[in-house]
């Protein structure tokens, strides 16, 4: 039975999401509780799945009983299991947070909670999919629900959601186009089969164009600079209750999909017209990391600043996984797990400040450190340490492994980019803290109490960031194991 855990992880949110309108037809107030229960079950299933994968090794799950070349396969290896657990935990934290910081009109909205659950099932499917077309389907499930969630509160968000929809659909079309190129050239869509047949076809223009289309399509979804323009506006205007969930999952899981494709199809020796492809990808990551950090530095709106921070981290992860060695790869994936939690924590803090203090810009938060709850200040400090990358948080060990990998590959530009983006991150958090601990504007000082659920979410996120740092050796080891087995 335990080999069925990946499909269970998909079916739990899917079933609950689809039957939500039926279950809550009489009592719409039950929506948040049903969602919370579903996410708790998901976390348990994800933990069991990780345990199963670590003891039994990676397995291929054949849907419908048809094995890979004929049927559709899901690959359940330690990377997929770890990311699935991360997504489940982040969902739990952000759903609990969404019970406090709710946007008016969405408290008991059945479509809103249905969309969240269906989006979770799409993300789970995307993580496990080992077939290019399956990746496309789940990418669209996650993206379409994402557009609707960004627009859920209406108003100005509708415009940005529409732009997100146009760009996202363009990306999906490009991905589909690239996929059809590969299908015509090889006759298969299964990633394992493709990695057997593609290397000798790499000189073909059709295959190279197909890979470029796939990369362009996915880089719109993962908001890689210069294709990031939909992200900051969409996240700054989306309902506060759902932004942490969107920010920490959508772009990261699109990146995971690309990593799977890249790792199985593009080896370090692959060159197109004498340009080594991996180095090219790494340089794109370098640009994204530095430009994203610089753009974050000049923002005055907190949510936009954090959104650009996330954009710059996508670049860092892309550097790590494109170095062509195991250390860099494991570092990049480990940083991805950390980044999911850090983004969730940052947007939760920004949402909570907006909820309690009605503050959204740097000027608004001036002196807030003296009046706000110590929970907010403490978790902001922990997240800032992790974003900058100081031990003992997970952020440090991710960056450390990426730098080690870059030194191993002798790519000093990558080392420079990681250090440079660290300095830029330090710069914009310095701006936040300079305002945060500024002399209070008001004379009377009254501290506010944050709700118990919010304390749980912020505490869990901070704990997870530090725990990942302390357990970094173990986690990196699991990731390396999966790489050396050729599992992914």
């Amino acid at each position: 039975m335990s080999s069925h855990l990946p499909i269970l992880l998909f079916l739990v949110p899917f079933f609950m999401g689809v039957s939500m309108p039926i279950l809550t037809a009489k009592r719409p107030a039950l929506c948040p509780d049903i969602t919370l229960g579903t996410v708790i079950v998901m976390v348990i299933v994800a933990i069991l799945n990780l345990r199963f994968v670590l003891t039994q090794g990676p397995i291929e799950y054949a849907l419908g009983g048809w094995t890979a070349p004929l049927g559709i396969a899901w690959l359940n290896d330690s990377i997929a299991a770890l990311i699935a657990l991360t997504i489940s935990v982040v969902s739990l934290i952000t759903i609990v947070y969404g019970r406090v910081v709710v946007t008016t009109g969405l408290e008991k909205s059945v479509p809103y909670y249905t969309l969240i659950l269906i989006m979770m099932s799409g993300l789970v499917g995307l993580i496990f999919a080992a077939d290019l077309f399956n990746v496309f389907v789940f990418l669209e499930v996650a993206a379409l629900t994402g557009y609707a969630l960004v627009a859920a509160s209406g108003g100005k968000a509708l415009v940005y959601a529409f732009r997100y929809l146009l760009l996202g659909s363009f990306g999906a079309t490009l991905y589909l186009l690239g996929l059809s190129h590969l299908y015509v050239a090889t006759g298969t869509l299964n990633m394992a089969d493709l990695s057997d047949r593609l290397p000798e076809l790499m000189t073909s223009t059709a295959v190279a164009a197909g890979l470029i289309y796939i990369f362009l399509g996915l880089s719109i979804k993962m908001a890689l600079i210069p294709l990031h323009s939909w992200l900051p506006d969409a996240y700054a205007n989306a309902p506060s209750s759902v932004t942490p969930f969107l920010a920490s999952t959508v772009t990261k899981v699109a990146l995971v999909a690309w990593v799977r494709i890249e790792y199985s199809l593009i080896t370090p020796t692959v060159e197109v017209s004498a340009v080594p492809v991996l180095v090219l990808l790494e340089e794109l990551g370098v640009i994204a990391a530095l430009v994203g950090g610089a753009l974050a530095l000049i923002q005055t709106d907190l949510k936009r600043m954090f959104a650009y921070g996330g954009v710059s981290h996508i670049g860092l992860i892309l550097i790590g996984v494109s170095l062509g060695n195991d250390t860099g790869f494991a570092g990049g994936m480990f940083y991805l797990i950390n980044d999911a939690i850090m983004q969730a924590a940052l947007f939760m803090i920004a949402g909570a400040i907006l909820h309690y203090h009605n503050a959204s810009t740097l000027d608004d938060v001036r002196g807030l450190g003296h009046v706000t709850s110590p929970w907010l200040t403490a978790s902001l400090i922990v997240v800032a340490i992790a974003m900058v990358g100081l031990p003992p948080t997970g952020g440090f060990f991710g960056k450390w492994n990426i730098i080690l990998g870059a030194l191993e590959a002798e790519h000093y530009v990558a080392v420079f980019a990681v250090v440079g983006s660290t300095l830029l991150t330090f710069g914009y958090f310095l701006k936040v803290f300079a305002n945060w601990f500024h002399q209070p504007q008001a004379v009377e000082v009254k501290t506010i109490e944050v709700a118990r659920e919010l304390r749980f979410s912020l505490g869990m996120a901070s704990f997870a960031i530090i725990a990942l740092g302390l357990m970094s050796d173990t986690v990196v080891q699991y990731l390396l194991e999966s790489v050396s087995r050729g599992g992914i």
């Binding site: 079916l11 079933f15 689809v18 309108p21 009983g65």
Partner: protein, 152 residues
């Protein structure tokens, strides 16, 4: 807002064609195993017949009662599809492995047939609901908005 059609010819023709189209949709759905057809095509034909009923008789009419009712069935098709897969999981096989469909009293061949038919019914229901809801949202949304503006 779509108004009911006045022409006697169109209304009489609708009364004759719509039941036939619905019957044909079910036929295509059922015989998808043996020939061209299946859940998607059957669902589209059924949705087409219901959209025709809305266009000819109007959404409020007694003749398009099915089109109004089916909108509540959004997601039932997905539940049928997922439920068949879940029954296969309970039977000990992989998701959607019909050999393990845990319906008692069936041999393996019939299990495959029942399994594929049920999943196709799920697909057909979902396609039909989606088709009707697209038609309704395209043709009725704007009127509601303008009414809201008038009341404001």
């Amino acid at each position: 807002m779509i108004q009911p059609h006045d022409s006697v010819i169109v209304r009489t023709f609708g009364h004759i064609v719509i039941p036939v189209a619905q019957l044909f949709g079910v036929y295509v759905l059922m015989f998808g195993q043996y020939g061209p057809g299946g859940g998607f095509v059957g669902g589209v034909v059924i949705a087409g017949s219901m959209i025709m009923a809305i266009l000819i008789f109007g959404i409020e009419s007694e003749d398009s009662v099915l089109a109004r009712k089916i909108l509540h069935g959004d997601g039932v098709g997905l539940l049928i599809f997922g439920g068949v897969g879940g029954l296969c999981l309970i039977g000990g096989g992989e998701f959607l492995n019909y050999s393990h469909l845990s319906i008692p009293g069936l041999d393996e061949t019939s299990r495959h047939q029942v399994g594929i038919l049920l999943t196709q019914v799920g697909v057909a229901v979902d396609v039909a609901v989606t088709g009707v809801s697209i038609a309704i949202s395209l043709s009725f949304e704007e009127d509601e908005i303008s009414q809201d503006e008038v009341t404001d």
